[in-house]
Symmetry: C2
Subunit: 350 residues, 2 copies
Amino acid sequence: MSLKDKDITIVVDAMGGDFAPGAVVQGAVEAVAESRGRVSVILVGRQAVIESELQKHSPAAAEAKIAGTLRVVNADDVIEMHDAPNAALKTKKNSSIAVGLALHRDGKGDAFASAGNTGAVLSASTLMLGRIKGIGRPTIGAPLPTATHSPCLLLDVGANVDCRARHLYEFGLMGSAYVAAMFGTRHPSVGLLSIGEEETKGNEVTLEAFKLLKESSLNFVGNIEGRDILKGGVDVAVCDGFIGNILLKFGESIPSFLKARFVRYASRGPREKLVALLARSALRSVMQEMDYQEAGGVPLLGVNGVSVIGHGGSTPRAIKNMILLAEKTVLQDVNGKIQDSLHRSRHGEE
Amino acid sequence: MSLKDKDITIVVDAMGGDFAPGAVVQGAVEAVAESRGRVSVILVGRQAVIESELQKHSPAAAEAKIAGTLRVVNADDVIEMHDAPNAALKTKKNSSIAVGLALHRDGKGDAFASAGNTGAVLSASTLMLGRIKGIGRPTIGAPLPTATHSPCLLLDVGANVDCRARHLYEFGLMGSAYVAAMFGTRHPSVGLLSIGEEETKGNEVTLEAFKLLKESSLNFVGNIEGRDILKGGVDVAVCDGFIGNILLKFGESIPSFLKARFVRYASRGPREKLVALLARSALRSVMQEMDYQEAGGVPLLGVNGVSVIGHGGSTPRAIKNMILLAEKTVLQDVNGKIQDSLHRSRHGEE
């Protein structure tokens, strides 16, 4: 039986995110309904609270429970968004994150998804699922919109702050496998973020990473600059998690910045106000494409399992998309493709 | 006699920039005309070519030459935009950059300005003018637009790729003095770019820089995140030149990205086409505020003199603004304010 013939079960952290559990429960009900039974969800968290949220979505939720596509598993502890990840994982043994990941590890679900504390999901996933053999550092990537039709997967965006060249190389390899599997891109182009296109431009770490990437079997296009991300044409942009996190958050702030600029423009006079009013739908459309809610979440790559991380501010729609993204990650066998790429590569860890 | 009563002479690299010498000569003529004799310009470069360009701007250029507000000094060598900076400075001894900086160093002009090879201007300025006592690394900053009325000065944006904590602290000090002098901001707020607001978040270098900035006399507001730049409210954002350069170029690519997105929106149908047409003026206005041409150039801080760096793609208007920016940098005594700040600080180099 191939994976495609099988129903997929996603274990969802019902307590994760700024609007949990309400937004998570609603998003889960919608994901199950939209998938028409293809996706099952296990909601993990404080059972009583989840059940009371589920009642708000009757009869859809009740029907899904009877059909077995929506289940609840209790977990008493909640890791809050502001908790220090490693300390919280130690003191809150029965957190929805730990219980949910254990279900996935033990085969009760095909993937785990959470819009909760990113650091805690990252640490717990790495500890409980383990790393893919040959990968030193699991990474979190994020697809950025571009001027063309294809996004640019930026990684790492915060999982690994101080990196060595070897890690940047691994990010390129995992990113390439992810883009090939998820977006169907053949031989994704991989660029190394730097401060000039020439091989001699960069900092100590990127100069060394350039060599590793150049010698690899990846479709490495060399150094790329900050402007090449939004311009499009590069499928995977590699950098350390310090830079990637700053860039990602800078990018996420563009819509609010533009909104403030247009409000100021509209305040200049009645003519400007009218133009801004008419422009609003165009702007909304353009900004929607920059909206993380659409993507639903970002993949944690390099662990022995599927762990998808949603945005802390996830709405029900973002949660629904996070669950469907987790389903696709399972169906497309991203981890199998990372392993294939490691085997082809001359840089696999011994 | 205070500086304000004195005419200011700006030495301008006539051969620097993608559209040199034509755009530079035109911009210089416009700067002199607009300042009504307050600013004199010395154009440095290949005399015959410059003279022939000047003839295109008669009678304004001829009048300025007679009044002595526009002069030409010959320099036979031209450092091209793609030349390796240090090699070019060695082989092209009589470059417009070297000759121009010597004029400034020898007191023939109050400042030097160039839209040429940034690396060469940086190296030559540091070598020929020397560093301000107490500054280890001169830096290049760039003002970024924000959602509020004040820009955010990002530095370093490429002069210093691998930095130590001490250098980040110096950038904060110089940036703060620049913003206070040039924008009239009292006690500018200084933020350290990192991946979380907490003092414990950062990479090895920023964690140490945090301590230095916290102990200083600067108005240090702690770590800021990528989203805090465009949001506004922070006057100076400190990072190493690798990150700053990537961020700056990413930011510069936003207008083209938006343009492409609106073109795609307009292609959806006649209604969208009309809306996009109407939105065009609003967009143009908003994008203009993101346009580097307006700022004219970025300051090189920390050298014993005034050296302003224009964008390689400078138009005549950008060159004019670059010259007026150099004038203001002299008038506001930015270097004096950097020295004052160093004296107040407990971290001045012994």
